[in-house]
Symmetry: D2
Subunit: 304 residues, 4 copies
C-alpha cells in the first residue's frame, strides 16, 4: 500500500501541442523525483490523458518508466470509454514496468451503479497490474458510490481509490468503512490532503507537486508528525498556489493552464497544451510569473 504524495504529472508537449516533449519529460521527472515524492502518476486528468492521441500516451508510458527506472512507483491512467483500449494501455504499462494502473469510470454514457460495478470487476479481471479506482464525478458524471466501492474492494486486484470529488464527507465515510483494512485511500485536491491525512487518509495525488514537489512532501511529513506550526506555514503556500495560480481566467481549464504556466515560469517545461485547451496569454502569464516568484521565495525561506 502506498502512503504519501504522488505527483499527477502534466504531459510536456512540443509546440505542435500534440507530440511528447521528451526532453521536457526527462527534466520534469528528475525535478519531481528530486523533491522526494512517493510516486508518479502519469496520464491522469492533470496529464491531459484523454486529450492525447494513443501514440502519445503509449510513448509517455514507455519513456516515463524508462526515465524513472524503478526509483519510485509509477501509476498509469488507463481511463477510457472503450474497455479494450484500457486493457491495451494496462498491458503496455505492465510491459514498461509500471507499478499499478488507475481508471476512472467510462465517461460518455452515464452509468448505473450496477453497470459501474460490473464494468470495474470485468476490467480488474483483465488487467494484470493492481488497479486503483478513480472517483471524478465532475468529469465522468458517474460517482463511484460508497457501496459500490465496498463491493469492488473484494476483488483481489482492486487495491485502492483516488477521490477527486472534493467532497470530504464522502472521503471520511470511505476512511471509516475501510479502517484497518488493506485498501488505499488517496485524495485528489491538494488543498485537502493535509486534513484528510490527519483523519486517516493514505496521502494525496497533488498536482502542485509538479512545480514544488518538496512543498507537498514536507507538508505530508509535518502532517504525519502532527507538527501544526509547520503544517500551517506549508498549507499557507499550498493555498497561495491554489488561489493565485489555478484560478486565473474564467474557465475550468485555468487549473491546467496555471500548472503548465507555472512550470514554464520555473523554466522546467513549455506551456504547450493539447486541444481543446490553449495556453495562457501573456496577460495571465505575467501574473503567473509574478506569483510563482513570490511563492518560490517564501518556500525557499521555509525549506532552508
Amino acid at each position: 500500500m502506498i502512503n504519501g504524495i504522488i505527483t499527477p504529472m502534466v504531459t510536456p508537449l512540443l509546440s505542435d501541442n500534440l507530440s511528447l516533449d521528451l526532453i521536457g519529460t526527462k527534466k520534469l521527472i528528475e525535478h519531481i523525483i528530486s523533491g522526494g515524492v512517493h510516486g508518479l502518476f502519469i496520464l491522469g486528468t492533470t496529464g491531459e490523458a484523454t486529450n492525447l492521441s494513443y501514440k502519445t500516451r503509449i510513448e509517455l508510458i514507455i519513456e516515463s518508466c524508462k526515465i524513472v527506472n524503478n526509483r519510485i512507483p509509477v501509476f498509469v491512467g488507463i481511463t477510457d470509454t472503450s474497455i479494450e483500449e484500457s486493457i491495451k494501455l494496462a498491458s503496455i504499462s505492465k510491459e514498461a514496468g509500471a507499478t499499478a494502473v488507475v481508471a476512472a469510470p467510462p465517461y460518455y454514457y452515464r452509468l448505473g451503479q450496477i453497470e459501474l460495478y460490473k464494468y470495474y470487476w470485468n476490467l480488474a479481471d483483465q488487467v494484470s497490474l493492481p488497479l486503483y479506482l478513480y472517483n471524478m464525478p465532475s468529469h465522468t458524471k458517474t460517482n463511484i458510490d460508497i457501496d459500490t466501492t465496498l463491493k469492488l474492494s473484494e476483488h483481489p486486484n482492486i487495491i485502492g481509490l483516488k477521490d477527486s470529488s472534493a467532497n470530504t464527507v464522502y472521503f471520511q465515510k470511505l476512511c471509516h468503512l475501510f479502517k484497518n483494512k488493506d485498501f488505499c485511500l488517496l485524495v485528489g485536491p491538494e488543498e485537502v490532503t493535509s486534513e484528510t491525512v490527519l483523519m486517516g487518509g493514505n496521502g494525496g495525488v497533488n498536482g502542485g507537486s509538479n512545480m514544488f514537489p518538496k512543498l507537498y512532501v514536507e507538508l505530508y511529513k509535518a502532517t504525519n508528525a502532527k507538527d501544526f506550526k509547520r503544517i500551517d506555514e506549508l498549507q499557507h503556500l499550498v493555498m497561495e498556489i491554489s488561489t493565485k495560480i489555478y484560478s486565473l481566467g474564467s474557465f475550468g481549464s485555468s487549473y491546467l493552464k496555471g500548472m503548465k504556466g507555472g512550470l514554464a515560469a520555473l523554466g522546467i517545461i513549455e506551456t504547450n497544451i493539447a486541444p481543446p485547451f490553449h495556453s495562457f496569454e501573456e496577460k495571465e502569464m505575467k501574473l503567473v510569473r509574478e506569483n510563482i516568484e513570490k511563492i518560490k521565495v517564501e518556500l525557499d525561506k521555509i525549506l532552508k
Copy 2:
C-alpha cells in the same frame, strides 16, 4: 443539404461483445436501405462509438461504406476527446468514401464556449469532409450555445448541426436564426422529429429506423405533406416504440438495450452490446419480443 430521415446505426457485435459482426452489419444495412431512409450515420451515440476500440471503429467505417456503395449518403461520427484521433477517423472516412463527418464536443473536461468555438474551427480546418456539429449536452456536459453555432456556421466546412438535447426551444431558436440559410438542422429524438420538421427542421436522426425504417420515412413524408391523419397514426407507433421498447429497466442504457433487443426480436442482429453495458435479461427480452410483435402487426396494417 440533406433532408429526411437518417439512421444512426447500432453497431452489430459478435458474442465477445467487442468485435464487429460483419454478417449482421450487412443484413442491418440492407434492411435500413430497403426502408428508404435518406442517410446512414455510423458511430454515433446509438452506435456505441465511444465504447468500441479504434480497430472496430475503423473496420465499421470501411465495411459500411463498402456495403452502402454510394446508394445513400454515409455520415461518420468522429467524436473523440483527442483531436488527433478525430482527424484520423475523418481521414479514414474520406478514403472509405463517406459523405460527411459528425462530431460532438470533447466530453471529458467541461469546456467554455470560446474553447468550444476554437476547437470546432480548428477541427473543421483539418478534416476534408464536411462537418456536422452534434449537440449532446447530457453526455458531453458542454452545450453548443446558439451564439457559438452562429459563429461556427461561418466556417465553409461546417454545414449543419444535429441536436440531441431534446430541448426544442433551443432547436426552434436555431431554426429561426438559420431561416433561409444553407445550414442543415437535424433533430435527434425521434419523438419530436415530426413536430420540428413541421416548424422548419430538415429532418431527424432517428434510432428507431434501425428497426422500422419505413415507419420513420413514411412519417417524414406525411409531415412534409401536412397529412395529419397519417401523421397521427404513424406518430402513435413511434411513441409506442418510445414508451414500450426504450424504457424497460431503470438505467439510461435501456434505450440502447431496447434497440438491440428489438433488432434481435426482428431477427436482424444479435443483442450483443459493448461494455460497460449488458444485454437485457430474458425477463425484459420477453417484453421486448411481445411489444415488437404488436408494433410490427400494427405497422404492417398501416403501411399496406
Copy 3:
C-alpha cells in the same frame, strides 16, 4: 378542460419593488383580455410568485379575480415549500372566485418520486379547486416523472399538467399516454406551443401574451386550422420576441427583465421587479424599446 392560450401574468409592482401596483394590474389585465386569451394564470414563475410577500400574493389573487370578473378562467399559482401555505392560498383563491390552482413541487429539498406522489395526492385532497401539476425541473430540481403523472391523474381533483421543462420528448410521451383521456396538457415555453399543439397538446401558457396577447391567440388559431403560411409568419414574431427581448444580458433573469421591460416600452406597466432581481439598465432598455417597436410594427401589419 381548457384549450388555448393562457397568460402567465407578470406582477405589476410599485417603485418599492414590493407592493402591488393596482392601477398597473387593471391596465394589464384589460390589455390581456382584450387580446382574446383563454385564461389568466397569476402567481406563476413569470409572476415572480415566490419573490413576493404573502400579503402581496393574497392582494393579487383577490384583486385579479375582481378585475377579471369571470370573463375568463383564472388560475392561481399556489406553489410553496410549506403545504399549509399552499392550502391557505388555495382557499383564498376559491373564495376570490378563481377557477383552478396550479402547484409546482416543493422546491427546497430534492424529492424522491414516491415522496412527490404522496405530496401531490395529499395536496389535492385538501384543496377544493381543481389542481394542475406544474413541471418546472430547472427551478424545483424535482421532475414530475411520467409514471408519477399517470398515477396522480387518477385523483379526481388533479385535472392537468403544465410542462415548462422545454423537453418536448417528455411532453410527447405525456400526449401519447393521455390520448383520449380527460387530462389537460399545457406547455410552458411559447417557442414550442405551436408544434406541441400540432401533435396533440391542449395549449400554451405563454409569457409573451402579456405583451402581445393577440399574437399568441392568432398563432393558436392558425395552428388549429393547420394554416402553415399563417403559422410561419406568426411564429416568426414569437421567435423574434424570444431572441431579441428575453435574451439580453447574461443572467437567467433576462426573461423576466425583458418581459417587464417590454411591457414598459408598450406603456402598460413599470419595469419594477422584486428582489433578488433588478430592472434592466438604460443600455438594455434602449434595445428593448427598439426591438419592441419593430415587433409591434410587424405584428400590426400581420394582424390587420
Copy 4:
C-alpha cells in the same frame, strides 16, 4: 465571533405533522444545552424551516428564545424566497432576543453572482441582527462564490458564513483568504468538522448534536487540544451515526428521518415530520433503535 459546536435544531412537531410540539421543544433544548454546545440554530435545513408555516416558524422563534433564556446564543434561519418575509422573520427574531440570523440564497430562481451579492447586501442593510451567509448549493442551486463572499464580508452586518456544500476545497480557500480576519467560518457536515477545525475553521453546525450534544462538543475540544487518540475514538462514533442512522432508505430525506427517528429512539421527541416528508416505517425504525442503542453504549463508555 462564535467558536465551537452549534446545534441546528430539528423542529419537534405534533402528530398532525404541522404544529409545534412545545413540550418536545423544551425537552430537546434542555437536552442540547445540557450537552454543552456553544450555540443553537433554529429554522435551518435540519429544522425543516421551509416546510413549516410562518405561524409555526414564528412560534418556534419566540418559544425557543424564551426557553434558552440567554444561556447560549440563538441563531435563526430567515432563508426565504421573498426578502420581505426574511426581514419580517429577522425582526421577530430580534424582538424575541435572538443573537444573529442566518440566510441561504433565495432558492427558486437560479441567481447570477452579482444578483446574489446585491441581494445579500440589501438584506444585511435591512436586518438589525448580525447576518451569517449560508452556502447550501445542493438545495439553493446558487453557490456563494469565493469572490462574492469576500465582497460581502465588507458589510459591517455580515459576520460569517456557514458552508454546507461538503466541498472542503471551497472551505479551505475561505479559511485561507479570511485568515486573521474577523469573519466566522463554520462548516455544516459533522463528518468534516474536526478536520476543518484542525485547518483553521471556527466550528461546526452539526445535526447529530441534537441527539448526542456531548459527543460533538468533546470532539471539538479534543480537536482544539490536538488530542488525536481522543479525536479518533470520537470521530469513529460520528461516522457510525453518519453511516448507520442517516443513510437508511433511498431518499435524500433519510438524513432528516434518521435524525428524528434517533431522537425518538432516545425518548426525546416524536418522529413526526412535515410534508413533503414522512417518518420512517417500523422496518427502518427497528434499525434506528438498534443502532442508536449501540452508539449510546459506546459513547457512554468513552465519555465516562
